[in-house]
Symmetry: C2
Subunit: 320 residues, 2 copies
Amino acid sequence: MTIAYGVVRPPGGEPRVAARVDGRVVDLSDLGDAFRRPSLNDFMTLGRDAWRATTERARGLDGPRVDGECLLPFEVADYVDFYSSLDHATNLGRLFRPDSEPLLRGSAIRRPHGQRMPGPTFGPSTRLDIELEIGFVIGTPSRLGVPVPVEQALDHVFGVVLVNDWSARDIQAWEYQPLGPFLGKSFATSISPWVVPLDELAEYRVPLPPQEPPLLDYLATDPWAYDLELEIELNGETISRTNARHLYWNIEQQLAHLTANGASLRTGDLLASGTISGPERDSSGSLIELTWNERFLEDGDEVVLRAPQLQLEVRGRITP
Amino acid sequence: MTIAYGVVRPPGGEPRVAARVDGRVVDLSDLGDAFRRPSLNDFMTLGRDAWRATTERARGLDGPRVDGECLLPFEVADYVDFYSSLDHATNLGRLFRPDSEPLLRGSAIRRPHGQRMPGPTFGPSTRLDIELEIGFVIGTPSRLGVPVPVEQALDHVFGVVLVNDWSARDIQAWEYQPLGPFLGKSFATSISPWVVPLDELAEYRVPLPPQEPPLLDYLATDPWAYDLELEIELNGETISRTNARHLYWNIEQQLAHLTANGASLRTGDLLASGTISGPERDSSGSLIELTWNERFLEDGDEVVLRAPQLQLEVRGRITP
């Protein structure tokens, strides 16, 4: 019975924090001021003991239930997108560099315009794609100038969302050297309306084989991943089944790396895993990998990303 | 008599918005709620007519004056760092790719740790550098999905700050391919405590020669730049004199580009110009260019960036 948190606006009412408990959506606004807010951020600042106590209470609450529209669950502070799937990195390297080594709930996604090659010409992207990712939401901030040790990293994480990092491959391929992606990514990012608290994921943790090459001390941890099933559905058809265990770097290591130079964490920071691809073609996390550069999104296409064990999904439909 | 806005906290008092008028710092908190705030953001949302009216009033105000500590002048929403100086891009390309073509006021800057080559080994950066830039602050937001036309771009800009984009060249050189800089940049960015309203810069606008290759329509404007003198001082010695007119792309074009894919502007967004370097060695905007990769910052070094005509400066001192 996985618990998740979100923000619900009942018809004619004010937005409030709600918990989804075994399919029921329970109004938490009686639990205190932090729950009578249009975002989870105040709740997220309360820290891990409060999160655990709330999850315990929410599990036991029999009501009141609440119906309404799900809103963006938290105000995003900074956003980092990692690159952690060895298979995705290998595939994209082969596709983009063949001569070398290889926020919102997501309803309508407008096809972005940009510079496309050959040319460049300016116009609508013809290679609109998805990226299947999981995202970690920071609850407890860290101090500027003080790196977070790898073994304390999870203390800062409030929970997990599913992420679709919409990508325009034609814009991205032309713009991204040498300073990285920009307009090929910045037009839209969708997250699931429900956030699963991190504690709920403990049962999915599995050990991984040792990492090669050996790790620098600040990244050293017994390797592990979340064994979470993930799916991509395009117009009603499941086109990929993959798993978060394919990520080479885990969230502990990503947090230690992100803060190694003294950069701080803020409540609401969203750390996305990077695209999750497995070793088989049909376990890829993007269309460019699934179709090996042959098919992209058409106007009207609907994409649903799912994490069935967590009952998380992200939906989006392409508009011109 | 250039006006600038900032946030000042008098001893024992609450932070409030102030204007610097010809060297005097004038308390604006009697002008309304938006001025009794610890940041400029509420004032920045009022729009261009209100900004102009306030500048007129501030010019005429004889008092009350206010003394105190200058705080970070606005809450930064999103941060973009462009790459707009042809000379800087050429220099960095030669230095990094020889074989191919907190935001705080900036007092103490801790030397960041990270992965350095050869190795990689983990430890303090040995190639800590500066980047001299100007930054444009967004006042009026734009609508998601609606690109800002190049000729309307300036309507969204509240004002200008001076920016030091501290950079660890050893970390950056190893990490930045293929996805761009990350920990080599994210440890610190300093801005001037005073923001000069955009209208004050009109007198410095100068035309530039036509851009080559010809511009795509969405970027097409009669080329221009701000003829603003800029200086870098290291431990009391001026080591570079350069000028914002060396920027190949202007802020109108940067804004049109940034929003071309439908990405929106938010109040508080900071758009930094990218490092400003001129054609001569001693008109460069970074140490790596000024010393051609031979000297970087030592512990205890103090760097001051200045825009003398606007009376803007950014100071920082390196600590271990």
